[in-house]
């Protein structure tokens, strides 16, 4: 597989110190990764500020901000972050909009159960694009999507980052988006990942938690579609009751973890990437816990073609 066909990114959940995150991004750039994505969620550090710190210490790696939820940030605030970042550090920023982690948003008083929530995201995108255009800035705007309605809405964006990892589920999601008339539209995935040369139990434990969070946050229709609803019954109940995820995760079956994560020894990654390339995926974000340490990032980089 040609490197040029797929961009590789590492996703960073911003709950470490700024210094630790920056160090990992510097390492990702040194290793030749194309992107870092800096997450944004109520319990994490503030993504635009972390992006400024990362940009000031790196030179060329592209920096994704998000997923940014328009329920948490107004379009003016989002565009108002991108404009000065680009002015200060150059045109290497992209953003991903989406509803966000429903459980985390509900903890800070934001209701994501509104039927029209996807329209809110769509309107935010239009306003952000308008402000950026007026400011002479052309930033790629992705949509982070999982359910059928959001996937269909992604046609109005520059690309979609699908919260899936298994080729079967990715194919299902791509079919929900297609047909897309624009040639510059990108299909990407953003999934919990653990690609390893030496297996570490701590990383696997964290992968289970990260995958469980994604699965438990998935729309009911998606869980029904793939037959996960019954198997996640007790975990869903405990998650709804806002119990700590560490205790909920023990009720999430291993096959669910596998379906929602990129979990493979580094020697077998290339065949997975080939499958995704065949499906038309051109952007892969290796999410938590791949960013656990510089070692796990190096493990990933060593398995990626032509880095």
């Amino acid at each position: 597989m040609e490197k040029a066909n797929i961009d590789f990114a590492i996703g960073l959940n911003a709950y470490e110190t700024v210094e630790e995150i920056v160090d990992k991004c510097v390492e990702a750039e040194r290793l030749g990764l194309d992107y870092v994505w800096i997450g944004d969620s109520p319990p994490h550090l503030y993504c635009p500020s972390v992006a400024a710190a990362v940009a000031s210490r790196t030179e060329k790696i592209r920096i994704g901000l998000g997923l940014l939820s328009p329920l948490l940030h107004t379009p003016d605030q989002i565009s108002g972050s991108i404009i000065p970042l680009i002015e200060a550090y150059g045109d290497r920023f992209e953003i991903c909009l989406g509803v966000g982690d429903r459980s985390q948003l509900s903890r800070v008083g934001l209701d994501t159960k509104l039927a029209e929530v996807w329209i809110h995201v769509l309107k935010a995108k239009q306003k952000i694009a308008r402000i950026l255009r007026a400011g002479g800035v052309a930033t790629k705007i992705w949509l982070g999507a999982q359910g059928a309605m959001m996937l269909a809405a992604s046609k109005s964006f520059d690309g979609v980052l699908m919260n899936y990892a298994s080729p079967m589920m990715i194919k299902w999601a791509i079919d929900k988006v297609k047909p897309v008339s624009r040639k510059d539209f990108d299909f990407g995935i953003y999934a919990p990942a653990y690609v390893y040369r030496t297996w570490r139990p701590q990383a696997y434990r964290l992968l289970r938690i990260a995958s469980a969070v994604v699965a438990l946050g998935a729309p009911e229709a998606v869980l029904d579609e793939f037959g996960f609803s019954k198997r996640l019954g007790r975990a869903l109940e405990e998650h709804e009751a806002r119990l700590r995820i560490e205790s909920v995760v023990k009720h999430v079956p291993a096959e669910v973890v596998d379906s929602f994560s990129i979990y493979t020894p580094s020697s077998k990654l290339s065949s997975y990437l080939r499958d995704l390339g065949d499906l038309g995926v051109s952007h892969i974000v290796f999410g938590f816990p791949q960013n656990l340490s510089k070692v796990t990032i190096r493990d990933l980089a060593s398995a990626l073609p032509n880095l």
């Binding site: 911003a14 503030y46 000031s56 605030q77 806002r242």
Partner: protein, 314 residues
Amino acid sequence: MKLDLGISSSSLLSEAIQFSKLAERGSLNCIWIREDLNAQQEIFTVASIILQEPSRVRVGIEVTSPLDRNISTIARAAATLSQMGRGRFRLGLDAVRPNALMRDAATLLRRIWRGETVTFTSDRFRLSNYYARYKAGFATPIYFGVRDTKLLALAGEIADGVILSGPKRYIEKAVAIVDQGLGKRKRRRKSFRFVAWVPTVIVDKKPDLHLARGAVATVLADTPKAVLEMADIAQERVEPIRAMMAEKGVNGASRIVAEDLLQQVAICGSPEEVALDLRSLEKYGIDEVIFGPPHGRKPDRAIEEMVQAWKRLT
């Protein structure tokens, strides 16, 4: 008494970075960024970029409202900036009443930064089993940028500092009200900071006064009745300025700002005169004064001249 520098979030970013370098070179104490809601630049991001500059100068946000962002977002943005600045960041908070909102906001921010799991419901805030996964690392001082008398007293009671802006006579009286709040604390906080932000302009030539009059018109148009009363400025004198501001903007309004109002609300003159005037606020108990904006016709030169004059004075 320390000298700070004030800029607006609507300033050009290149200008803001240049000013931060001038502040570092001049050993100023803090750069305060005032949030302009019409600005194209988000204030926490601008502050982050300034904090990336190698500097010992503190960076403060004056002020953000707990109503414009989710309280968890303000908490994490401030915690991120405090980490980035290794304790050089200050957070200014403002809201137009009620008292309870500001008390709740300050309390919630500190609980979140302490790593508590927070459940809290009020008219404005709703947190349920919320906890930060980041570690705050460095303390973020909370400054109240308020003008209402009850909020001034509350600032003394619970904030780490207060930013006072308004006519000089008002500032004198406001300090006394904040002091009453400070008196309610079990232990009087020696570290509490009184900061004054008065429009300041270095006047080179007479036409530069137009800048000062513009700043005064803008301030007065936005000044509540209670503040005007405390400053002994009759409401009838401000009404025409407000009306002209609405009709013809700052330029029009600046033309009808009388000399005595200019002297009451702004500090302008040669660098030495401005430095002396700012310094005179110390007698009211002010610990820090913020220079500008609009600084002067050529802001970079005005800042440099001001720094020199301040050094000569101290």
